[in-house]
Amino acid sequence: MKAMVNIIGAGLAGLSAAVTLAKAGIGCRLFSRQSSERAQSVMAEGGINAALDTMGEGDTTAEHFSDTMKGGVYLADPNAVRGLTEGAPDIVREFVRLGVPFQMKGETLVLRNFGGQKKKRTAYAKSSTGKMLMSALIDECRKYEARGLVMRFPHHDFLSLVTEGGAVTGCAIGDTFTGDRLVFSGPVILSAGGPAGLFSGHTTGTTQNTGDAAATAFFHGVRFANLEFIQYHPTTVGISGKRMLISEAARGEGGRLFIERNGRPWYFMEEKYPELKNLMPRDVVSREIYAVCRDPECGGQAYLDMTHLSDDTWRGKLSDLREECIHFLGIDPAAEHLPVEPGIHYFMGGIWVDERHRTNIKNLLAAGECACQYHGANRLGGNSLLGAVYGGKTAAETLSREILSAPGYMEGFEHAPAGEPTVLSGNERDPAFERRLTDILMEGLGIVRSEEGMRLCIERIEALLKEDGMSDRMKARASLGLAMAKSAIMRRESRGSHFRRDCPERDDENYKKTSTAECIDGRVITGYLDIPPLRETV
């Protein structure tokens, strides 16, 4: 067996890791349930942040850093965020080199406004930025595939890690076409996306981000962090089977939120937040929509008004968004107001990783939405594509540094891995069980939370775990859900996307910390870790 790195998930983070490894001459296998064209990354819309300062506003990476830290309410690892924001301009320049058709004036990038940031910092390709980055990176990855440095496995499911003596030695993979079970040696990078499937039908994500990879890793002792922080995007609309995102670009290009109050439109964000107006961080906007929709003086439904946008803006910057609204909602946003509601869009928490994207288990790294890095208690729009690319790259660089500095490191993976894969029983999907778990989680982990609500959520999941006939796979999912609820109830403050009506204030003294959750012998154990201080730069 050729010694290669195993990457689970072929979205933006996985592709970024694969290309980075290949450039260093290190081979990798890229496993995914479906080909990269089907990854959730292709759905990302608004853009990618980088302080390129092409708009003459004097933007700096230091401001991108401070906006990201502030947007995440100071819960992100500041050293990691500094790396992210300082690395961002080169990442976007690299995408230009790969031919991504960003909005440009001549050969200069045009940047747009995005939430939580005062300066124009978001490079974009209409509102299909994720798709454009993915097309470019898929093609780039193909170049290395032709050279034998990347092997794609596009219909392969992650089944389990293989470990020995507390270190990962490989992974077990299922071929979804043949049903064959395969075992591969080598270090593992998990880049399998966020656990949208725990909230199936209530998110803007794909049906393939089931959360199975995360749940399996959790069940096997991988530490998770900040699981209580779930991003409700302010502007989503229900369509059949899911929520459809109305990109933040809609507001970045001038869209205005309003609700009817006493028969007149009330532009509540503009009145309450005169500086950033409709472009406050997502957690703030979602909470405001939640509140005004429950205000007895208001009409109960918030709208996004884009009817005043120019033809040029629609044609050049938002044509795809308009087409989508007409197609799926039967509403032309250039002529009518869009009814919007907050919906689950992103998980700030995930697998705990350090600044170099190492997990608590040797030879296991994680990147992209499945990892906890960069976004703290709330993610800024435009930072997810950036975090996925930079995170995948960083994980790959960490591994290549270890591999290249330790002669014999990869040779150790030339044979079948030491240790047995512990594939969880019950690998078939169980939609009825999954729906029950989703209903319980939705009750407890909404935009506004309470002690009683979260307590009930925990009790119900604990009862579920005791039911007869629970396979290991079901237990793993339920345990990850339990970890989310336990992480939420122990944080007795409000911060970012975690808002409690019984503890509405932020409490830095007790809770400016990373929450952690581990599954030890089937029990969910939660705790806190200190956030590392920002290192002095030399």
Binding site: Q34, A39, Q40, P101, F102, A146, F177, H327
Partner: protein, 236 residues
Amino acid sequence: MKRIIEIERRAAPGDAPYIQSFIYETEDESATVATALSEINARVPLLDAGGEAAEPIRWESSCLQKKCGACAMVIDGRPALACDTRLSERGEVVRLSPLKKFPVVADLIVDRSKMMEALMTLRVWIEEDGRSHEKINEDVYEAARCIQCGCCLEVCPNFKSGGSFYGMAGMSPMARILSQTKGGALDERRKLYNKYIFEGCGKSLACRNICPAGLDIDRLLARSNAVSLWKRLMRR
């Protein structure tokens, strides 16, 4: 609304196909074929229209917003995305079968790896520095929107799986590379384009009306033909 969902099924690649029907009723006017398949699979127990126990229907889905191409299948005789096909716009019986130009894996799942292999043969990647400029980016954007679903190949009279014509699913990603590549890398790709796209295309343009992403195929084809044939014409 009530629909009978009639599915061409097989458990494994070599098996003889059989037809199995399911009854699906919903109040949701926006329900799609994808909604029906998800909800039928969530039933406990899963029974077919005749009340017999049935195995879960195997099909692929991902974004449910026609952005990823996963759920392409033949619906009432035409290739389409399940998430893009509203039941309210179909008749009482909705017939589903797998795409025919690819090997069937099971039920509605086909193995579309031939499309990936075609892009490898066409060397669809940027060799050195790609060009990015306001003037070409509209075309590049259009080309890069292709979702690799395979619907265009299903209706193409010239495309055969394993043949030397790669169809619009090959042309569209290649159009991006042709417009962003220079020098020797471009010469090489022009030759590949001529061999695997231009020469095999009978210009029926059946693909134009079927593309779920609504790609401007005329424009991409015209530009790519211009780029790859220009040099040939000059050599004469």
